[in-house]
Amino acid sequence: MYLPPIGQDNPPVMSVLIVDDHPSFRASARRLLEAEGFNVVGEVADGHEAIAAALELKPDLVLLDVQLPDLDGFEVAGRLAALGLPSAVVLTSSRNAAEYGPIVAETPMRGFVPKAELSGAILTDLLSL
């Protein structure tokens, strides 16, 4: 898990935890979201690390990949909701939401964003819902 230094100037409005097992996606997403004013407070690569980091960092948003090496994103989202964390969860995947079927609608989360369509504006829209 990577934790950035505390006490930056002009702190961003939204804190984000990025959960994805691909380092290249985590790096790209971090740069993009930080450029759009988000504060990326952590990156982790699997489901168990995601739950531990969310409990510790309590981010405003967890950007959660569906395909993780241990638990899948739906399972992680369910566990985070069961823990009563205030963090909003947005699932992301290389696939479209329709490919996963009804489980997308049944999962406690704020929304679903295909990876290629990720942007700060979309996340802001989802969080404002």
Binding site: F25, R31, L32, K115, A116
Partner: protein
């Protein structure tokens, strides 16, 4: 010591079996026991030597001497015993060789082997026997031919009827017979007895053939041999008691008629039984092939599914991730175009590199899942390219006594060669990525060439 005792015991049992069969044969003999139309000891002795080994031949000698007629000159008795022993031994060895060790008469070829073997052995015995009788002056010279023929046909019939009976039925597990088979067998047996013994049927001996066919169709060689033995024994018994369709004006004529019927009934039944058995074997082989084909198809489908899953995974982890990063980088470039135009140029170069990497990976994927460089330049360069393209920084150190060729390097690695060749190794040090705090670790990749 135990081995010798066991052998002596086995010889004794073989002799007893031969003797018992001879006693039964004498019950079927004509002219108050002096001429046998059907001589069971030939078949029994032959089957004993086939099933338990030709080294038991002394048992045949003992059994034959036990039923010998010692009112004849000793030379005549010994001559017949030598002939009878050679008969059984030759027939057993010849049958075993011609049938290639298959003793269950499950092929038409095996029935042919039985006919040839029994005929050859019997010819020897008839020659020894008739000559011994003549030399001992037991028979006049004018009867030599008729005696030889009767001897030959009686022994030949005995071989054709009783050798198959023993070969097919000895060692059969009684508990393997289903109640339905037992019932059907009982019905066939009863029908044969009724048809053979009913006075009104005695003039039409062929009426038993439908039942013989039934037995062969349903029971294969076992049913055929059992039914043929029963039919022929009853027929010979009837004729010996001057009853039935084969009673002729003279004993010689009656013998000939009976023996020809016995041979015809036995061979016909055995051939049909063998054909049925061959059909069952062919069906079984076909089912086995079908099962293997089904398994093979299932394996192919499974392998195809695994290959597709691997391909999907490779696409997902490779080119797709690079394209996603490219999309995000371009989106970031657009943002930076407004905020920090100087940064945009750097981002566009990065995006271009990422796009080239994605193109390269797709090209490699399209060329048979494995990197093109593996086929072009070998394993070492392929690993270097892999390390260069890895998301984590990797130091690669390869050690080859000689540069592997395409065939001897790359392809052999992909085929996962067995460890019979010299073992060589490549080491790769994975430095780890500081941002994820991974410890430096050493990874050992092994290959065989």
């Amino acid at each position: 010591m135990n081995r010798h005792l066991r052998y002596v015991g086995a010889v004794g049992v073989a002799g007893a079996a031969y003797w018992l069969a001879a006693k039964v044969g004498l019950q079927l003999a004509y002219l108050h026991g002096s001429v046998a139309a059907l001589w069971p000891p030939v078949g029994v002795g032959m089957a004993v030597l086939v099933l338990y080994g030709p080294r038991l031949w002394p048992g045949i000698v003992l059994g034959d001497l036990a039923v010998a007629d010692f009112s004849q000159p000793v030379g005549t008795v010994l001559g017949q015993t030598v002939g009878n022993t050679l008969e059984v031994l030759i027939a057993a060895l010849l049958f075993y060789r011609l049938a290639e060790g298959r003793t269950q008469l499950g092929r038409v070829r095996d029935v042919g082997a039985l006919v040839v073997a029994a005929g050859a052995g019997t010819a020897v015995s008839a020659t020894f026997g008739a000559t011994s009788l003549r030399l001992g002056d037991v028979i006049p010279g004018g009867q030599l031919g008729a005696v030889w023929r009767t001897w030959f046909l009686g022994d030949f019939s005995g071989g054709l009827v009783f050798a198959p009976l023993m070969l097919c039925w000895v060692g059969m597990r009684v508990d393997a017979i289903t109640p339905r088979q037992a019932l059907e067998g009982s019905v066939v047996t009863a029908l044969i007895v009724v048809l053979a013994l009913l006075p009104s049927q005695r003039d039409v001996p062929y009426v038993v053939f439908p039942v013989l066919i039934w037995a062969a169709l349903r029971g294969g060689p076992r049913g055929a041999s059992g039914a043929a033995a029963l039919v022929t024994t009853l027929t010979v018994f009837n004729t010996a008691h001057h009853a039935g369709p084969f009673v002729r004006a003279t004993t010689t004529q009656s013998l000939l008629a009976t023996q020809l019927f016995v041979a015809a009934a036995a061979v016909t039944s055995l051939v049909l039984g063998a054909v049925i058995e061959e059909r069952h074997a062919a069906l079984e082989a076909l089912r086995e092939k079908e099962r293997r084909l089904r398994d093979s198809r299932a394996r192919i489908v499974k392998a195809g599914d695994a290959a597709r899953r691997r391909l999907e995974r490779n696409l997902h982890d490779g080119a797709q991730q690079r394209l996603v990063s490219l999309a995000l980088t371009l989106r970031l470039a657009r943002i930076q175009l407004e905020k920090n135009p100087a940064e945009t140029d750097h981002l566009l170069i990065e995006a271009s590199d990422e796009l080239q990497c994605a193109i390269d990976e797709l090209r490699e994927l399209a060329r048979g899942i494995h990197p093109a460089v593996l086929a072009d330049r070998g394993l070492g360069p392929a690993l270097e390219v892999l390390a260069d393209h890895a998301h984590l920084p990797v130091d690669l150190e390869t050690t080859y006594p000689q540069a592997p060729t395409v065939d001897r390097g790359g392809r052999r690695l992909l085929r996962r060669r067995r460890g019979t060749d010299k073992h060589r190794e490549i080491r790769a040090r994975d430095v780890g990525h500081p941002s994820v705090g991974r410890e430096q670790q050493e990874r050992r990749l092994a290959c065989w060439r």
